[in-house]
Symmetry: C2
Subunit: 602 residues, 2 copies
C-alpha cells in the first residue's frame, strides 16, 4: 500500500476505532463550529476528515488547505452520530479524526471546480489533467479497463493469444488515408501507421497460430466526425478452422459476457440475425436501432404509376425509392413539430416530408389530413393504407427520392421520432447484420469497390459471380450492431490464392498492382493457408455506449480534438530543420521557398 | 472448436476408440508397407494419421498430400502397438486411422523445410509466415503471450489499471531521435511517435489514477544494434504514494511471480541491491552479470607512482583508471588464447592487455610470468598481489586507460572469460542497481545531461547540489538487471514544480525552453501533484532471455531488420506524390529537384 494504509473511499464502519493513513486530494473544505472538515478524495472515493482545534499546530496547517492540495492524513476512524450520517457518501457513516497532517504538495487555484458542469470541450482538453480528476472521468477510464480486461479474460479462456503486429507498416493507398512516417535510413521511402492489422492477422493464421487477438491502436487520417479519432483502439481477432456461424456465436458470447461482467446487463441470447437486404428494406440502415420498432413500408412498386410527380418520378428512378413510415399517435403532432422534422430530414438531402394524418379512417378521404392526399388516386391510397396497416391516430410519413436519400432521411427520422415520441424501449438491442454484398458500384470511379475489404470471402456458390456479375455476389461478412451503432464487424476471409486473384480482378486491380501491394499475402496463401476469419470491435465506441457518454473523447484519456490536435501538449508542432533534413524531406510551404513552390505548383 | 473436435497435439490414450476431427498441416509424409503415414501438425503439436489402402478413393487423395498441405481428417483414435510407440511425441502412444480426408488448401513446395537449421535471417524474415510455423517460433510467441498475461494478472491483482496513452504525440528532441508523422490538417507541423509514455503516465498520476500500467509500443529512430528494434514493447508502470523501496519490492515480486508462473523458475528473494558506484567499481558495468563472480580490483591509487608509463599515465589521467582482473586457473591460458582476448578487448578501445601469470607465488618474481612485471617495482608488485589475493594458477589481467575504456574492455573480458572458462553459474542472477548519479557531464556539449531523464527525483537531501554541484547529486533511480541485461529501469519522479525547474536549470534548459517543451508537465505539477514513481520493463528483452533466444527478432512476430526494413511486406516503400502533397512535404532528394536541392545544401 505504500504510504497509505487504506483508500479513502473504502473505509467503512468496520474500520471504526482503527488508526489509518490515507493520501489524496482536498475535494472540499468547510469550517464549522470552530472545526475544519475536509472531504479527502482518492481514486476510490471520498472520506470526511475532521481537524479539531485542540491540536493547535496541525489545526493551523489544516487552515492553509485549499482545494486540490495533496495531503497525507493519519487519524482515527470514528463513527458519526446517527444524525450526521451522510447517506450520499459510501463512507458516510464514518469520519477520520486527524492526528497528523502532511501537505505533500500544494495547489494553485484550479481554473475550474471539479464539479462544474457544462465546461467547454476546449477547457476540458486544455486542462485534461484536472478534467481527468472528475469522478465521471475516473469511472469512465476504469470502465474502459474493466471492459478490456473482461475481453482479454474471455479470449484467454478460449485459447486466443495476443500477438503484436507492427506499427511501422507498408502504405497501401486503398480505403482511408494513411498516416505516413518518413524513413531516415531509406531516403524517399515511408512507413505507414496501420489502419488495421488485417493482413498481419491473416498471415498469423497462415502461420498456424489458429487463434489471435490484439487490443491495438489503429490510425486513419480522415476528416474527423464526432465519433472518430485519428488513432482509435480496435479489439482485433482472427481464428482458423471456424465457420461464419461458429465465429458469430463465439463473439456474441464474448460481448454478452462482457456486458454481464462489467455492467451486470443481460443481452439477448442468441442475438437476432438480419440480412443486409432486410435491414435496408425495413430500416433504411445496415445498423438499425432496434429499440425503435417503427419500420419502413415499401411503396416504390405502387408509386410507379401514381399520378403524383413527387412520388412517381422517385419510384421510376433507377436508384429511386418510395417508402412510408407509420408512427402511431403521430396525428397529434403539431404543425411546428412537423416543420421541425421536415427541416431535420433536409439535413440528409430530403427535399420535403410528405405526410398523412389518419384521423378517422372509417370516413375515407375525409378522415385523412394531408397536403398530398389529393394527388393520390383511390386505388393507390387504398394500397398505402393497407400496406402500412393504418389506424386512427397515426401519422404516415413518406420518403421519395434516390434510395440513399430516402434511407438516410427516413432512417434518421425513424430513430429521432421513435426516441422523442416514446416509441423506443430503454434497453440494449444487439443484432447481427449479415449477407452483405461483396461489392458496390462506384459511379464516379466507374468500377466495383469492396464493401468490406478485398479479402472477404464470397458466400459458397457465389464465386462465379465474381467474373460475371460482381453485384450479385454476397459476402461472408457480418456486423455486430447495438442500439444503432456498429460495434464490430468482420468476415470469413479468402484462403485460396485463386479466389483472391479473382476478387482483385473484379476490383479492376491488375496482377502487377496486386503483386506490388499485396504480393506478400498472395504468396502466403500459396502455402496451405487455412480457412480463417475474424472480427474487429471498436473499443472506444463500445465503452462510450457502456459509459453512457456523449463522445468517445470521454472514454479516452488524452484524445485529439476534431481538428486532430492535442490541446494539452500542443501536438502536432513544428520541428527542427535538422530533423527534416535527416528524414530527407522539406516543407512544401516553407516561406523561404515560396517562389520555388509557386513555380512547382503551377 | 469450429471444424475440429480436438487439437492434434492434445490427443492421448484417453481418446482411444473415439472418432475425432482434426485440422492442420502435413508436417511429414511417409509411405511404408503400402500404407501412407502423415504427421499432422497444429498449434498444439503433432499426431500421426494413417491412411489404409482399403478406402481406395481417400487413399488416392492421401497420395497427393505434400508437406504443408492444409487438411481436415476424420478418423478413429487407435492405440499403437507397444513396439510402435514413439516416446519423442506427446501423442506417440496413439495414431488416427483416417476415415475421411479433405484437402482444405494445397501448398506449393516451401522454399525451405521447417526443420532446417541455420537458415539465414534474410530467408527467415522474407518467408516469415513459414518461419513462424516452426515449433520454436510457435513456442516463443506463446511464451511472450504467457509472460505478458502473467504481468497483466499481477498488475490487475495489485489494483493497477491499463490506460492507453497517445501514439501521435509531440516531438521533444531530447535523447533519442523521434519518428515523425507529418500532419495533413496542420501545414508544416508534425506528430512524433512516443519514445515512451513517460510524461503521459506522470500526468495520469497527477490526475489521480494512482496505479497505471500499459504494455505499449515505443519508438526510437536510432541506428540499430543486435538487440534493438525501431519499435519495441515496454511494460510501462507508474504509481503514486509509494517510496523507492516500496516500488522496488512490488516489482521484483512481479518479475519473480512471472518467472515462477511461466517457467517454474524461482528467482532470489529478495533481489540483491547494489549501488551504481559499487557496480562500476567491482564490475565496470551498471548491469553486471552476477553469474560470473570475477571482480575488478582497484589499482588506480597505487599505479599513480609506479615507474611504468602504461599504468602511471592512465592512473594520473583525470578520468583514468587502472584495475586488475584475477582469473583463477588462468595461468593455463595459451599464448594464442591470450592473443584472442587481447584482440577482443581492442574492440572496446583497449590498446593492449597486460597480464601476470602466477605460477609459483612463493618464488617471488621468478614465480611470475609476464611481459610487464619487470616494469613494476617491488612495492607496487607486492600491493597488486596482495590486493587481488593472488594464488598459484591465477592469471591477472590489467586494464589501464580512461575509465570508460577500462570499464568496457575489462568488463566485457570478465564476462567472456567467465563464461568460456567455467567461472559462470548456469542460473538466473537478478539484481537491483540503485543510487545512480543524476547527471553526467557531456564534454562535447560542455554541459550536464540527465543520466536517466530530467524528471527523476534527487535523493532526499541532494536538492541543494542541483545548483551547487550537480555531479554530486544522486537520483532515486533504479535498474533491474538480470544476468547482465538491464530488463527494467525507473525512478521516483519529481512531483514539485520548483524542484523540476531547478533540474531544468541544472541541465541548462532555460525557462522559456522548459515552458515550450514541457510546459504541460510544469503546469500539471502545480495542481497538487502527488509523490509518484514508476518503472518500465523491456518486454522483448525479457522474453528473449526467457526463451533462450539469440535475438529479440526471435520473439517478435514481424520484426524489422537491422536496416529497419520489413522484408515480408517491403516496408518502408515509396509513396504517391499525391500523398506527399496532402502532407505539405516534398522529397529533398527528388531527382527532378536535384539542382534546387544542390543549391539549397550548399
Amino acid at each position: 500500500m505504500g504510504m497509505r494504509s487504506h483508500f479513502c473511499g473504502q473505509l467503512t464502519k468496520a474500520n471504526a476505532e482503527q488508526t489509518v493513513t490515507v493520501c489524496g486530494w482536498v475535494n472540499t473544505r468547510r469550517d464549522h463550529g470552530g472545526v475544519i472538515f475536509i472531504d479527502l478524495r482518492d481514486k476510490e472515493g471520498l472520506v470526511q476528515v475532521v481537524f479539531n482545534p485542540d491540536a493547535a499546530k496541525m489545526f493551523e496547517l489544516a487552515g492553509s488547505l485549499r482545494n486540490e492540495f495533496c495531503v497525507k492524513v493519519i487519524g482515527r476512524v470514528s463513527l458519526r452520530d446517527a444524525g450526521l450520517v451522510n447517506p450520499k457518501l459510501a463512507t458516510g457513516e464514518i469520519e477520520i479524526v486527524a492526528q497528523e497532517l502532511e501537505i505533500l504538495n500544494a495547489s494553485v487555484t484550479p481554473p475550474f471546480q471539479l464539479n462544474e458542469e457544462n465546461l467547454s470541450e476546449t477547457t476540458r482538453l486544455t486542462h485534461r489533467v484536472l478534467d481527468l480528476r472528475r469522478p465521471q472521468m475516473q469511472y469512465n477510464m476504469k470502465l474502459r479497463y474493466k471492459t478490456a480486461m473482461a475481453i482479454r479474460k474471455f479470449l484467454d479462456a478460449n485459447d486466443f493469444i495476443d500477438i503484436e503486429t507492427p506499427m511501422l507498416t507498408k502504405s497501401t493507398p486503398e480505403g482511408a488515408r494513411d498516416y505516413l512516417v518518413p524513413s531516415r535510413v531509406h531516403d524517399g521511402q515511408f512507413f505507414a501507421l496501420p489502419q488495421s492489422p488485417q493482413l498481419f492477422k491473416q498471415m498469423l493464421m497462415v502461420a498456424g497460430f489458429d487463434r489471435y487477438y490484439q487490443i491495438v491502436k489503429c490510425f486513419r487520417d480522415e476528416d474527423l466526425r464526432a465519433d472518430r479519432q485519428p488513432e482509435f483502439t480496435q479489439v482485433d481477432i482472427e481464428t482458423s478452422f471456424m465457420s461464419e456461424s461458429d465465429i458469430r456465436s463465439l463473439f456474441e458470447g464474448m460481448i454478452r459476457g462482457v456486458f454481464k461482467e462489467v455492467l451486470d446487463i443481460e443481452l439477448a441470447n442468441p442475438f437476432p440475425v438480419m440480412s443486409y437486404a432486410d435491414a435496408m428494406a425495413l430500416y433504411g440502415s445496415d445498423k438499425p436501432d432496434l429499440r425503435v420498432p417503427l419500420q419502413f413500408t415499401e411503396l416504390t412498386d405502387v408509386m410507379k404509376t401514381v399520378d403524383f410527380k413527387v412520388f412517381n418520378s422517385a419510384a421510376n428512378l433507377e436508384d429511386g425509392r418510395v417508402v412510408a413510415l407509420r408512427v402511431p399517435n403521430g396525428a397529434e403532432l403539431s404543425r411546428s413539430e412537423i416543420d421541425a422534422y421536415t427541416q431535420f430530414v433536409g439535413i440528409y438531402g430530403a427535399k420535403g416530408l410528405a405526410y398523412i394524418k389518419v384521423n378517422a379512417i372509417e370516413n375515407g378521404r375525409d378522415g385523412l389530413q394531408s397536403p398530398i392526399v389529393k394527388n393520390i388516386d383511390d386505388a393507390a391510397l387504398q394500397t398505402i393504407l393497407e400496406r402500412v396497416k393504418a389506424q386512427n391516430g397515426d401519422i404516415i410519413f413518406f420518403g421519395a427520392d434516390r434510395a440513399k436519400v430516402v434511407n438516410d432521411a427516413i432512417g434518421a427520422l425513424r430513430i429521432k421520432i421513435g426516441h422523442e415520441k416514446g416509441h423506443a424501449s430503454n434497453d440494449w438491442q444487439p443484432l447481427w447484420v449479415v449477407d452483405f454484398p461483396m461489392f458496390e458500384y462506384d459511379d464516379e470511379g466507374k468500377r466495383w469497390v469492396a464493401c468490406h475489404h478485398p479479402f472477404t470471402a464470397p458466400k459458397d456458390g457465389h464465386e462465379d459471380h465474381l467474373s460475371t456479375n460482381p453485384g450479385l455476389c454476397i459476402a461472408k461478412a457480418y456486423d455486430m450492431v447495438l442500439n444503432g451503432w456498429e460495434i464490430g464487424g468482420g468476415s470469413v476471409r479468402i484462403h485460396r490464392e485463386e479466389v483472391q486473384s479473382k476478387v482483385f480482378r473484379a476490383l479492376n486491380i491488375n496482377a502487377e498492382e496486386a503483386q506490388e501491394k499485396f504480393g506478400f499475402l498472395l504468396d502466403a496463401l500459396q502455402y496451405g493457408a487455412p480457412p480463417h476469419g475474424g472480427i474487429a470491435f471498436g473499443l472506444d465506441r463500445i465503452v462510450t455506449m457502456m459509459a453512457g457518454a456523449e463522445s468517445i473523447r470521454d472514454v479516452i484519456a488524452f484524445p485529439k480534438t476534431q481538428r486532430a490536435q492535442c490541446l494539452l501538449t500542443q501536438a502536432p508542432s513544428p520541428v527542427d530543420e535538422k530533423q527534416l533534413r535527416e528524414l530527407h524531406i522539406r516543407l512544401r510551404n516553407n516561406p523561404a521557398q515560396l517562389a520555388e513552390v509557386k513555380r512547382d505548383e503551377s
